[in-house]
């Protein structure tokens, strides 16, 4: 669930060294794989891999529902996957062609089954949480040493936000993640589909609206890293990227990621095969390649997101497997919540509320 407007139009097409008639077209999130893996796949299978990237679930879903996308493998997030399965956009996987599927992790499979019953249509690629990215030094300077950097109160309590406004706060421009967080903060069910409950989120945002610099889902990576902003509600791996960039730049900025102690949202990006995929066989080969423990470990070691592959865990570097921001401990894990997709009427209420929160109309 990554969002990079900058790379919205970036298209990466790899031309195989081996001239081959067979090709597989993969459509994945931007900055979401170790590119060496793409070359490796082509060398191992001799299949030409055409790898395109997108930056929002909405764009992917529109392509899926319009039909005829031409892709063999796509990577929607769980809630979107569920809706697209009901629309008939995907085909069931043939597990005979996926011998590596045994590597999958039951903890993740149990949770993804709520989007894809029986995990019949998809395999997990990566998963993560939506939490708080904080410039530790600046926030402690403004709020004191006991600043609630692991609590939603940091961004939803006007008393805190009033002080943080001067150093810059970004929230995700993603209503399906921000509204559940606000509901969680006031003790309502974050997965509520009741318009009356959802409406309660409005007051939470309006109280802190004047102190929010921007609603954006990608600029916070740079913003946090170079110290332009000090707090962002963001996706785990993205905040960790910001942390590493700041460390590389050695600019005195220390970034930390924390899931909210009230409970953070957990999401799953799933690989699936469109119903009209031109090369179903090649798509399975790609999925099986991704399910390989070593390949999946390479991907996670590169992008700093947790994956749904149990066997890969032994091959992960300590920076990834040992970081509770990526692989949360059991207490945090039990505290995470998941959401289910809104139906069209409720989706309209949510989008409308979000427009109102952002623009005041």
């Amino acid at each position: 669930m990554k969002n990079h407007l900058m790379s919205a139009t970036a298209v990466l097409a790899l031309v195989a060294s081996v001239a081959s008639a067979e090709e597989v077209r993969v459509y994945n999130w931007s900055d979401y794989i170790d590119e060496n893996l793409l070359t490796k796949f082509q060398e191992e299978t001799g299949i030409e891999l055409i790898y395109d990237v997108f930056d929002s679930n909405e764009v992917l879903e529109t392509k899926m529902l319009a039909g005829g996308s031409g892709y063999d493998v796509v990577v929607p997030t769980g809630t979107f996957l569920q809706r697209q399965i009901s629309a008939g956009a995907f085909q069931k996987l043939d597990f005979d062609k996926l011998p590596n599927a045994g590597n999958l992790w039951d903890m993740v499979k149990d949770r993804t089954a709520q989007y894809d019953p029986g995990n019949a249509y998809s395999i997990n690629y990566m998963w993560g949480t939506t939490g708080l990215g904080v410039n530790v030094g600046k926030v402690k300077e403004l709020l004191g040493d006991d600043a609630p950097i692991n609590s939603l109160a940091l961004v939803f309590d006007p008393a805190n936000m009033e002080k943080l406004a001067e150093c810059g706060v970004h929230l995700l421009d993603a209503p399906a993640e921000m509204i559940p967080a606000a509901l969680q903060y006031i003790g309502e069910d974050p997965n509520s589909h009741d318009p009356d409950v959802i409406a309660k989120a409005e007051a939470v945002f309006m109280a802190v609206r004047p102190y929010i610099q921007k609603f954006n889902s990608s600029e916070y990576i740079n913003g946090l890293a170079n110290g332009e902003i000090c707090v962002a509600v963001g996706w785990s791996g993205d905040v960790l990227q910001a942390r590493d960039r700041a460390a590389e730049a050695d600019n005195g900025v220390e970034i930390a990621y924390n899931a909210a102690k009230e409970g953070s949202q957990m999401w799953f990006d799933q690989m699936a095969i469109p119903v009209d995929a031109p090369n179903v066989d090649g798509a399975h080969k790609f999925l099986n390649f991704i399910l390989d423990a070593q390949n999946m470990a390479d991907a996670s070691n590169y992008v700093y997101y947790a994956n749904g592959n149990k066997a890969s865990q032994a091959l992960l570097v300590e920076d990834v497997i040992g970081d509770p921001a990526i692989y949360p401990d059991d207490d945090t894990l039990n505290n995470l919540f998941t959401t289910t997709p809104y139906d069209i009427k409720v989706q309209r209420v949510v989008t409308r509320l979000w427009t109102k929160i952002k623009s005041g109309i």
């Binding site: 139009t9 929002s56 909405e58 764009v59 879903e61 529109t62 899926m64 529902l65 319009a66 039909g67 809706r83 009901s86 629309a87 008939g88 956009a89 209503p175 921007k214 609603f215 332009e228 069209i344 989706q347 309209r348 989008t351 409308r352 979000w354 427009t355 952002k358 623009s359 005041g360 109309i361």
Partner: protein, 296 residues
């Protein structure tokens, strides 16, 4: 026969590339959303013949249009787009007319070069040019750094993510579309007319006002339409340069289509946008025709 063919070809072109797509959009705007591929219903089943067609037509309704009327978001977005498009058109005209005018006053051998300079920006992708404005207008951008360095300002100006940035982006992007038709009109202007006006006692300013402006009116009108029409439905510029408070119908349309996944309502928004554009165009054409008739 020859004449008939000549007229016929552009009409086929219009029908295939404008009328048919528009009718498809109208049809979707009268449908209901559905969780399917494509995400709306009813679908026209030609196999069932006449009965199928009647059933299909019976399922269409104007529900989406009544919905648009009920929520003030939509008319506010239309109004705000109209305001932004109008102001940017006026700004573009104020900047573009003097440019076109001075180009026609320039020495003959310079004109091709000047014309080339107007067209040159098109050699770079539109998207990249808008992105580069983000680098110029940003908090740490070139403009602020220059002004700070010159001690004109002591704190960086906030231009990015405001309506000002949207105006700058639109005026910059569409300026060539306005300069070129005005230049073409002014280029044809007979200098003897201006001399005659001065001989008959007009001041230079009055001659400009009474002769040059009316004779370049066609270019002005054409240029203004070329700016106004795309600016009204503009999506890229407000979403990259504007903030969340910049409400434009292009963004609302995007949200209907992508966030709400409601193709029928998105189509209804688009149909109304087209009607808003078509009415002034038809009025303008009628006016032109009347003028021609009264002159003839």
């Amino acid at each position: 026969m020859k004449r008939f063919t000549l007229i016929f070809i552009p009409y086929i072109w219009l029908a295939a590339l404008f009328l048919v797509p528009f009718l498809i959009v109208v049809k979707i705007s009268l449908s209901d959303t559905a969780l399917a591929i494509p995400p709306y219903k009813p679908a026209l089943d030609l196999a069932q013949g006449w009965a199928g067609l009647m059933a299909f037509l019976g399922d269409l309704d104007f529900e989406n249009f009544t919905f648009l009327a009920e929520d003030d978001l939509y008319w506010k977005a239309y109004l705000s787009s109209l305001k932004i498009a109008t102001i940017s058109t006026i700004l573009t005209l104020l900047i573009g007319y003097p440019i076109a005018y001075s180009m026609t006053r320039a020495a003959e051998e310079w004109r091709p070069t000047l014309l080339m300079l107007i067209i040159l920006p098109f050699w770079t992708s539109f998207l990249i040019r808008v992105y580069s404005w983000m680098g110029i207008l940003g908090q740490e951008g070139l403009l602020n750094q220059l002004l700070l360095w010159l001690h004109v300002i002591s704190e960086p100006l906030k231009i990015m993510n405001t309506p000002t940035a949207v105006y700058i982006g639109i005026v910059y992007t569409y300026l060539p579309f306005l300069v070129l038709p005005i230049y073409a009109a002014l280029d044809k202007l007979d200098d003897n007319l201006l001399e005659a006006a001065e001989d008959l006692g007009c001041s230079r300013f009055k001659a400009f006002w009474l002769v040059t402006i009316p004779l370049s009116m066609n270019g002005i009108v054409a240029g203004c339409f070329l700016v106004f029409i795309p600016a009204l439905g503009e999506f890229v510029i407000p979403s990259l340069l504007g903030g969340s408070q910049t409400l434009m119908i292009g963004k609302v349309l995007w949200e209907e289509f992508f966030s709400n996944r409601d193709w029928p309502v998105a189509s209804a928004v688009a149909v109304i946008l087209l009607l808003i554009l078509i009415i002034p165009i038809i009025l303008f054409q009628r006016n032109q025709q009347k003028q021609r008739e009264s002159e003839g």
